[in-house]
Symmetry: C2
Subunit: 193 residues, 2 copies
């Protein structure tokens, strides 16, 4: 009896935290939402949020049902340095967007229509993905380079997953990687001007 | 009296045609909508639609309030051939998307959310823009090349106009052209594999 009660309590707390996280990120954006504020809205202790979900980035990916946590995957993509990083980033992006349960399309669609979603997504991508990428770029104008990388990858996701521009939408990952990786690599390490 | 009556009649017919065009393109898509069907829905002769609005592409750009008609502008961009075409296409796209009255953001937003808009937009872009671009590409796999060009340009519009990824969103046109034109040029004429 206590055991099943405990399990229901955990599950109820987890759901309350995820609901409060979705509301909190939508209301305040990714940057200004806090674990403490989300815990208060869920009626739990902040330590329980950390215990269940880890960091703010991990809570965000859980609340938004993002199947891949960039905080776990991205360091492995970035660690070997900028040699071949263009190709590794394209493969990473293809994994993130084309997984069967990827919410990429849903997230981008809601970002298009609801300004809070757009802001939340922009702040998350800027801080947790581009912010880490900027630190890995060993060239002038790293912020401009990271935003150019983002423009090609976002456009690739739009063309393949959302608008469906053929033949790119149906092209194999290998065709996409060989065509797009040199673009990403030049944005990362090549001349821009 | 007849003169003002005539003017009101013209204006009423124009509005009826534009309304019927918006409904017709949304219901049937760009490819399957016809001038004849739109004229019938508006209660006018097809010749009047041609007289007021020209071709189907021109009627579409008028109905969607696109400030630049690609049927007029694109031939000038394509005519000089593939030398420097990457740069000319980037400049063309910046003109289309950043004009003060550009409906780019609105069109892309509605394309994200309403499947009929997505289909209509995809068909228009595929036929009237990518279709012309494919014919101008003098290299293997012209369709794949055109869709790669589209992926970078759509992503550029997303990053600058819709999501606002800095510093790219605020970068000058000259910075964007020098960074992105080589990407477009490689997609048009360079090695893909």
């Amino acid at each position: 009896m206590p055991r099943s009660g405990r399990r229901r309590g955990d599950s109820g707390s987890r759901d309350a935290i995820l609901g409060a996280a979705r509301s909190g990120f939508a209301a305040h954006g990714y940057d200004r939402a806090t674990i403490r504020g989300i815990a208060r809205a869920a009626g739990v202790d902040p330590a329980l949020v950390h215990h269940f979900f880890g960091t703010k980035a991990e809570l965000f990916t859980s609340a938004m049902s993002v199947p891949v946590n960039p905080e776990q995957l991205l360091p492995a993509v970035l660690a070997p340095g900028t040699d071949g990083l263009g190709e590794r980033l394209v493969r990473f992006f293809l994994t993130m967007t084309t997984a069967a349960d990827s919410p990429f399309a849903g997230i981008v669609r809601s970002a298009m229509t609801h300004d809070p979603s757009a802001r939340m997504l922009r702040e998350f991508v800027t801080r947790e993905i581009l912010g880490r990428l900027v630190l890995a770029i060993d060239a002038d104008e790293p912020e401009l380079r990271a935003s150019l990388v983002a423009s090609q990858l976002v456009g690739l996701g739009m063309a393949r997953v959302i608008v469906g521009i053929e033949p790119l939408a149906s092209a194999s990952d290998e065709v996409v990687v060989s065509a797009v990786a040199p673009t990403i690599q030049r944005y990362l390490t090549g001349p821009l001007h």
